[in-house]
Amino acid sequence: MSPVLDLLLNLLVKNGLLTAFALVGATMWLSYQLSAKLTRGRLHGSALAIMLGLLAAYVAGVSTGGKNGVVDVKLLGGVGLLGGAMLRDFAIVSTAYGATLSDMRKCGVSGVVSLLLGVVLSFVVGAGVALAFGYTDAVSVATIGAGAVTYIVGPVTGAAIGASSELIALSIAAGLVKSVLVMVGAPLFARSIGLDNPRTAMVFGGMMGTTSGVCGALAAIDPRLVPYGAMTSTFYTGLGCLMGPSVLFFATKALLG
């Protein structure tokens, strides 16, 4: 190895978090380019970036045999800090700022009903699938159920109740499938469910929850509807993070004995 290359690699390892910023920044840029050029914005850039992240983790897993995705590659250790529990929770909490309590009140009964039903129903369906696939312990079932809520609620719940990294990855995958499906499918079926007004957009955000999915879909249906769906879906993740490791986990535990 040439001394200059050696120097560069050392520098990147020593400044791991900055390397991660640069790398994730480049990934986001690439994803938004691909999203605009290949899918004409139909598939949201953020969802594409997450898929690239999961793909990178898969490739790293195959090549290193480790369990921590790209973090097992020495050069990419900083990604572990950027995507670690501390900054993850910090960034998630900050998204609550996008919503206000007075706006939530305007949302009315149907908004609250859609939020509660959306979270609980997604969890129940996800948990049911986990049971059907032979999982019987409460931690596994609840983590996969929470993943069907969103790809944020899954890992938050999984981490809180002590699920393994494989389960957390599964729950993220389930949430990602949901996000991508909402993004791609909702514009196609928007007319059949009457999704063309702010009210229905709020219910849509509350039922589906996945913010990137909801915003991506609404941008494709009618950009003026985005803030309405975004508002309810902002509460969805918070509600899911609140209910996942508590009420929903305990209910699962009680039912599974």
Partner: protein, 136 residues
């Protein structure tokens, strides 16, 4: 100052985590119970209150908004460190869970929408044609 926003966000996140830890301890689970959710509620309440009293200026706001914008990149970094290889072995389940949850919830949107509408239409009808007994 921007740090006020960042500081407030950090206080809310830490306090939420503390509440979650204490709640976990109280219920007897070795886990943080809903810490992120409590932190979000606290941030909502505090910023709303500070804004109303005019003490939360746009500059402080930027300290929070920056992290909101960093949320997707952080999730990307989080995705990149998961054990995807392990997840792929359980492939069909993740896909089925995601697909079913989406389809079931999506199909119910018109139903939930109608519940709210019916209530509102009923309320409006009651206002338009007030009946004698006044029971709403």
């Amino acid at each position: 100052m921007i740090i006020y926003g960042v500081g407030l966000l950090a206080i809310c996140t830490l306090f939420g985590a503390l509440v979650g830890d204490v709640l976990g301890l109280a219920i007897g689970v070795k886990a943080n119970v809903g810490g992120v959710g409590f932190a979000m509620l606290l941030l909502l309440l505090l910023t709303e209150k500070l804004k109303r009293s005019g003490r939360f200026v746009p500059q402080s706001e930027q300290g929070i908004v920056f992290w909101t914008a960093m949320y997707i990149p952080v999730v990307v970094a989080m995705a990149a460190q998961q054990n995807v290889l392990g997840a792929v072995k359980g492939g069909p389940m993740a896909i089925l869970a995601g697909v079913l949850a989406t389809v079931v919830c999506f199909a119910l949107i018109p139903v939930i929408d109608r519940i709210g509408l019916a209530r509102r239409t009923l309320a409006r009808a009651a206002l338009d044609h007030p009946t004698g007994d006044g029971a709403a």
